[in-house]
Amino acid sequence: MQEEELQKTEKKSAYELFFDIPVGPQHPALKEPAFFKFRVEGERVVGVDVDVSYNHRGIERALEDRNYIQNIYLIERICGICNVAHTLCYAQAVEQLHGKEIPSRANYIRLMVEELARIHSHTLWLGVAAHEIGFDTLFMYVWRDREVVMDLIEMLTGNRVTTAINTIGGVRRDVSDEAKDKVKKGMNILEERLKYYRKVALNDPTVNARCSGVGILKPKDAIRLCAVGPTLRASGVKNDVRRDDPYTLHDEVPFNVITFDTMDVFARVLVRIDETLESVNMVRYCLDHMPNGDVRIKLPLSPPVGEAISRVEAPRGELIHYARSNGTKNPERYKVRTPTFENLPSVSEMLTSKSDYEVNIADIPITLASIDPCFSCTARMEFRDVSKGKTWIWSLKELKAHCSKSRR
């Protein structure tokens, strides 16, 4: 039945038929639940359909039931890898509601931990990418060296991944001089290792063969499809929230926005490695210029009535939090827009063959991995009828109809 329909609607190819290959929601190539339907013509991928709404956790609704302090730890659990970016964004939004500035030393610590988390996220991604292209040696070595930064984060914050360092009004822990020395030593090791991996990525024939010319995203398409973060920068567009809309101390701490012009997976590998090297330098700058003083100001539990938007450059791209307060101790509405959600249209673009380049089935895993997907961040809304035990999601048409109705 389906084949007949396809033959009617699509033009006949050399293979007579298009096939639909379902990948997911549970699939060895994917680390998280997502469903991709690839339309293939022989080995060529000619179309892709994405569904990521398998991991709805109701976090935005749960935020409205908890007070501002409890929400820090809930926000942190939207995404394990970018937990620092999420708490930082949340803390900034709530501080904006209060209309208060935090001490300078707290800003330095926030920035430092944010950049450490970026190093850890990018090295994790480099390992995953190496694994996806079948270069497991590189994967093992990168993850071994990632332990250096994990240990530093554990020492500074008290936990390897879920840091819980940012809080409303500053940070929860100070950095001692002893810790500073250790971070400096760790940064030296990391810089040396990252420079080595950069050399490997540039010279190794395996990396080159699997990454060059794969998953091309042209700058025009990247801007049209609202790509963010390293995905956008690898297409040669100079865009970084840290530069365009500086938060914490990004206007003081010098850094370069890394771009690369080959627009493929290879560019994304190099952009991430170079960004990690920039982060190493930023952490060093923070350690050298950190002033003395308080790390936290006391703020009341309930912020005044108002709304706030805060933006952070998470390791995966631009992260936006919106908060609305009605003067009570719980937020009235909270909205999170995560970078993976923005990058999904670009993935469909990368995975569709064009007249000038082809996508093969074997390139699917690394192209998917190249945006550093984190699907658990994406599903935001679903409907549930408790009495009937039914769950459903609105289509774009229904959503538009609802929007126009409510506007009237």
Partner: protein, 112 residues
């Protein structure tokens, strides 16, 4: 091919992994300030109940004993965020460096 030299060098180095539960147990380095198992001091507690008010996961249950109201901590619900330690005005709650918390009995997860 470019990594061959590195691989050769690593052949003669010590292993990077620690055989944690079986060997070299003492070499698992836990830094100072690690957020592990909760320890509660009943004598310092003044029944202000701030810990239960700020616990994000409901791991902190309030019960009444002979001295009055007090918290009980359920480690199976705990996030180890140390918010309770932070809000406690008397320092009655402390997170220790103990991290081996798996147990066969559910009662072992309740801190009194």
């Amino acid at each position: 091919m470019s990594m061959l030299k590195e691989i050769q060098k690593s052949l003669f180095k010590k292993k990077a992994t620690v055989l944690y539960p079986f060997k070299e147990r003492e070499k698992v380095h836990i830094p100072e300030g690690f957020r592990g198992k909760i320890v509660f001091d009943r004598d310092k507690c003044t029944s202000c109940l701030l810990c239960a008010r700020f616990c994000p996961s409901g791991a902190c249950e309030i019960v009444t004993d002979e001295k009055g109201k007090r918290p009980i901590f359920h480690l199976e619900l705990c996030l180890f965020c140390s918010q309770c330690q932070e809000v406690c005005p008397k320092g009655a709650i402390n997170l220790t460096e103990e991290f081996e918390l798996a147990a066969f009995d559910r009662k072992a997860f309740t801190i009194r």
